[in-house]
Symmetry: none
Subunit: 212 residues, 4 copies
DNA sequence: GATGAATGAGCATTCATTCAT
DNA sequence: AATGAATGAATGCTCATTCAT
């Protein structure tokens, strides 16, 4: 009984400590989303997090360490945040591919700041090794996932047999991430074009009439 | 007499003024290329341009006006700077399409700062109406050029007849601009994939053996 | 029984408290020796002492109280730390005088930080009554000891009979403490000059051939 | 006429520029005199000088540069500021020696801050190469002047012929600078003791009845 | 046109101190 | 007794901008 009392007292304390860091990172995320790195001020982050400047520096001794924390924070978000899963077609690769487009749309519609902050970090990665490291990790795991989809698609006969993965993978990545230039409203058109291009003729026929 | 005097006096002055402006804009461009908007300092720009800060403020009363000038400066660069033209195949759309890829590669290899600054401005456009306006102009004219290519390609029988321009145009734009995520070294692969996808079957046969 | 319990509990606790205080004061001494009052940071002191800052503030509620503690700590050091005693000549005043020079050299060679911290405190005494009080005590007891030496020397016939103590005492103090301007390497020369000046002619003869 | 106008316009401007630096250095001097290096705040210096913080940093980019400027400023003061010259005795060395004591007293009575700031700088010289350099220059020129006095005194027969300059010079320096330990009120006593010690017996007789 | 000097507002960071545990 | 977390008030320094010349 006293045991559980102690436990109850300890856990919230621990939880809150973890939270403070996350709250600060989320605040930094928000500030960057609305003002860019250009407008990132430690004071604004602290204020948004509801803590004193000195408290921010207690958790992140320098602004740089905050930025590095943010890069990892963002990686964590992309690893865990996905659109609700869509109805399956039974074709694994197609389902995963469509999920990628759904995710892209989901990020854009529900969490438009994600793309902005991601691009800010990608740009900063050019001149900041620590950020570059974190972003490389994120890109690498995404690329390997896209590769899996393409290879699976070819193997299971969903995609055209003459597809060259070395061409297809970067095209898909560019198309999925290229929202900044084409506008999300065209993502659906792009998705149709991609499927037109990727799917094996017999799969196309098979899917005729089934809404995507 | 006084007319010609004035003219003679004004024209060099005007010319020099134009030059000073351009020198300053180029300096701003360089600073952003290496430090981002985050690191854009008027003093650094003035120093790089070899003038006093007060002089910079004579030409650009505010930092904002400098940024706006830069957006137009960049539009001008993309309008006039292209890779040396490539050997023609006689198929107009294909030639233009290939020129687009050549340009993309040329920018990346010979003027890597261009992409960085373009992305910085694209990001800033989110929160800056004037920059957004300039960037929209740039995007719009590029899009209309890509549309022309696609339509010409279909019309002249170079591209597949069942292509949907509404799908094809944004895909091409995303793919051409999506360098930040895939790396320039894959641009050639992407180009092959794109041609595989766009070209009409008979054109493919016709081009067999001709190096791209 | 409870008495002895309490006593046993208190005494070690008290001892340890005294120790912690001394460790903290020594740490403060070290920090001042290497960075001056200018660089005295409570965090640096705590870190050097191997305790938390809050612990430092438990023993010394304010930085000022730490400084005051240091002034007394230093007085204690000068009261107890001396060079190993030198061979006696039998002339009490001369022996004591020589011991003063030996001490000065000893401090300078073996504990050079002592002089630095002493001067830092002397300077701070100008604007800090509590430090002034402690330093005055230190100076007063040193002066009275020098007076004793001079008077004894005259009385016992070791020093010249026409010496005026009111002139001699401050000269000796200035000369013994004036290391900052002349460099310790000259202290031996100074000592010879002082003896030349102070000693009675017959004592000089008597000491001829005896190494100082 | 226009010439003189221009001159009148230019000279004050130039003067004022020079002054700004000096005003800032004097302000820094004042702040250190009353609060020590410990209490030296750029804001306080700027405020005392009646300028904006940014203006201080225009003239002294860093606090360190201000401190270095101060060290040179102080050297300049000691080189040019002296007590009004005293009546001569005709004995050059004695006149110069007495002038040294008069200067010491003058500094202490009329410019008591000088000694404080000098000691602050001397202490800081321990950990600051630039300050050390400046202070070494000051000490070296003072020492060479004292050497000149002692040698002249021996040569012209004013001082005892058996004086050893290697002993006498540092003793004099220690005694003249050792005010921090003995108090200025004893400086006169010290001076009498020093003359008693230095002067040749016949000179003493000769000076009997002449007030010092 | 051009510049040296000046400034208000702000910036990341630090510091002595406090407090709940 | 001891500590991790938190904070208000600085602290040295920077920045875009202005102005007299």
């Amino acid at each position: 009984m006293t045991n559980s009392d102690t436990a109850e007292a300890l856990i919230p304390a621990l939880t809150e400590q973890v939270d403070r860091r996350k709250i600060l990172l989320q605040a930094a995320f928000d500030v960057i989303a609305s003002s860019g790195f250009e407008g990132l001020r430690t004071r604004a982050v602290a204020e948004r997090a509801g803590v004193n400047i000195a408290t921010l520096h207690y958790y992140f001794p320098t602004k740089q360490s905050l930025v590095e924390g943010l890069a990892q924070f963002l990686s964590g978000i992309f690893a865990t945040l996905h659109a609700p899963s869509r109805p399956k077609t039974g074709r694994v690769a197609l389902d995963h591919l469509r999920q990628e487009f759904t995710d892209a749309q989901f990020y854009h519609e529900r969490h438009p700041e994600l793309g902005v902050v991601l691009q800010e970090l990608a740009l900063r990665a050019n001149r900041d090794a620590a950020v570059r490291h974190a972003m490389n990790g994120l890109t690498a795991s995404w690329r390997s996932w896209i590769e899996t989809i393409v290879q699976t698609g070819i193997a299971e006969g969903t995609f055209r047999q003459d597809l060259n993965p070395r061409q297809t993978v970067p095209m898909l990545m560019a198309v999925l991430a290229g929202d900044s230039h084409v506008g999300i409203e065209e993502l659906e058109n792009i998705q149709r074009g991609v499927e037109e291009w990727l799917l094996a003729p017999e799969v196309k026929k098979e899917l005729k009439g089934v809404k995507p």
